[in-house]
Symmetry: C2
Subunit: 339 residues, 2 copies
């Protein structure tokens, strides 16, 4: 356990100044490494401040500087499947710069969103990161004219906004190429509803690798659909697939379970790749899933650094940044060496 947090009254800069025998102005400058003064004075003030455990009051400081060292993360992803890794990345990037993050879960509720945004703006957040669970949907709130910078992470932003998304096309290509490199000849794609933009992106990347032989099966994002798709592909069919690229891990898990129940060996007879690297699903599948990780943590980190840059007045080129995905190899495709 660390030292207990002090419970004595917080020392103010006034106390530091008095104890060091200088004015508050000098104390402030000493602690912020600004202004001119003798080395001795500066050191003495710092020393005294440390002894008193002085930490500046962020509200007083913010009142003047218009900076709160606080940002807001707005999301409609109540499950946290996507938001938590993003949040972790943001935090990781910003915490040692003294920035704290308000997490606001708005569940597609416009009124709730407004309440949260207003509360954050009252608190003078330095910026807002909008996030969500679908890259092709917007949050139910219009932040275009917000008085603070906004960046979008894993959610759709308006024209000319700064947006971070994962490069699903690249991730999909790697997944399909991985299957091909394992010697799989008939590789199909079982994925989610056509209404999702990411379904198209992934499907097109798949098609680009596979070419004419591409077979795409659209359904739901569920294990049940994975089962059903396997039934469709295997029941009474002579030449079933030997490679399956799934649109997400839940479908992949359904597929793997269904294959096992049919006595089809994974990865012996069929190799399966998922998408999302949702640990709880991917790692519990038998065998554990090889799957595409969207690197959401890195995405959060980038978003965090960007919002900070914007808050500090730097100019950031608007546009969509696609961050690379990474194939996480487990056991559902067979050994890690190409066949």
């Amino acid at each position: 356990m660390s030292d207990p947090v002090r419970n004595i009254e917080r020392a103010r800069i006034y106390d530091v100044a008095a104890a060091a025998g200088v004015s508050v102005a000098t104390a402030s400058r000493a602690l912020n490494d600004t202004g001119r003064m003798s080395k001795e004075t500066r050191e003495r003030v710092k020393q005294v401040a440390a002894e008193l455990g002085f930490r500046p009051n962020a509200m007083a400081r913010g009142l003047l500087s218009k900076r709160s060292f606080t940002i807001g993360l707005l999301t409609n992803d109540t499950y946290g499947r996507f938001t938590l890794p993003v949040m972790a990345g943001i935090s990781e990037a910003l915490v040692d710069r003294g920035v704290s993050v308000f997490l606001c879960a708005i569940e597609d509720d416009e009124a709730l969103a407004k309440v949260h945004v207003d509360a954050m703006l009252d608190k003078q957040v330095d910026g807002i990161i909008a996030s969500g669970k679908r890259v092709d949907r917007r949050l139910p709130v219009d932040l275009r004219n917000a008085p603070v910078p906004v960046v979008y992470a894993f959610t759709d932003g308006p024209e000319d906004s700064v947006t971070f998304v994962s490069d699903d096309a690249q991730g999909s290509r790697e997944a399909v190429q991985w299957l091909a490199a394992r010697g799989r000849k008939r590789i199909v794609h079982i994925t989610g509803p056509e209404s999702f933009a990411s379904v198209h992106v992934r499907a097109e990347a798949y098609r680009a690798v596979i070419g004419e032989k591409a077979e795409i099966y659209y359904g739901k994002w569920t294990e049940a659909w994975g089962h059903e798709a396997v039934a469709q592909l295997w029941d009474g069919k002579a030449n079933p697939p030997d490679g399956i690229f799934c649109g997400n891990d839940q479908i992949a898990r359904g597929v793997v379970d269904a294959l096992r129940e049919r006595g089809v060996s994974v990865p012996g007879n069929v190799s399966v790749v998922g998408f999302d690297n949702w640990e709880i699903v991917a790692a519990a599948t038998r065998p554990p899933l090889t799957t595409v990780d969207m690197n959401l943590r890195a995405l959060g980190r980038e978003a965090g650094l960007t919002i900070l840059a914007l808050a500090e007045g730097e100019r950031v080129e608007p546009g969509i940044r696609r961050l690379p995905c990474q194939l996480v190899v487990r056991q559902s495709c067979g050994g890690s060496a190409p066949a």
Copy 2:
């Protein structure tokens, strides 16, 4: 979409006062419904404030009042399995009182915890809610002498702290009684590692209902353990169980999957109950799991209201509050009417 957020310079109370033809003091009092003034004046000020879209600067206000209308949620549950529902409850309880929540994910890293706590204290949070992923473990930070109130939610707190946990014993009793009410005769308990306090609480509650015939199998919190336990109980055994109370949903899912693979019908031959109501697991199980929900959202709500009461100076009796769990009936036990 709602009205776009204003981007014009924020009106200050000075602007409101000027526009309404009163002093800032009167304007402040009018808006806060304090002080004495004519009804007309008060209304006029409010009217003007509304027209200008005035929202008080929380930093200025906080500087004076020592309240930031901000609290911190500290957690080491990176997955968010437990923290997210708690967070949702807190937010739900506090957002319309204008309170925003800092989420700080510290992963059992003492230094990181300290950084986060210090950052929050600098920002003058009104209180801290400590949360976690195990009720019998403490966060790696000592908050006993924190200068703000602290409550503990779903994590162990020091002597004389205010702590909220779920009433696992009650939830377990209901689960076991539910199995018994279905006419199940040999009800066993397959649960997690003995090192977890909640394992004991749940096991003892199970034992209290079952009595001498209690059979408890300790293992891991994994699907794999669920499979293994089923193998132990069925392989070559004459009279297998007909009711299984599992320590969590992952074990339950493993159990149900294993039974299906053996051709044992759930709920036809065996009824299974889980614990946690982790949607992603419970709902995807075939059949969907009847399971115990710990009502973490309600727990968060209580914790939020309590920290607010403490922040407002109310006295709250220290001690452990156990909030009731609720059995969520799906299909893994058979029809909803007692047999």
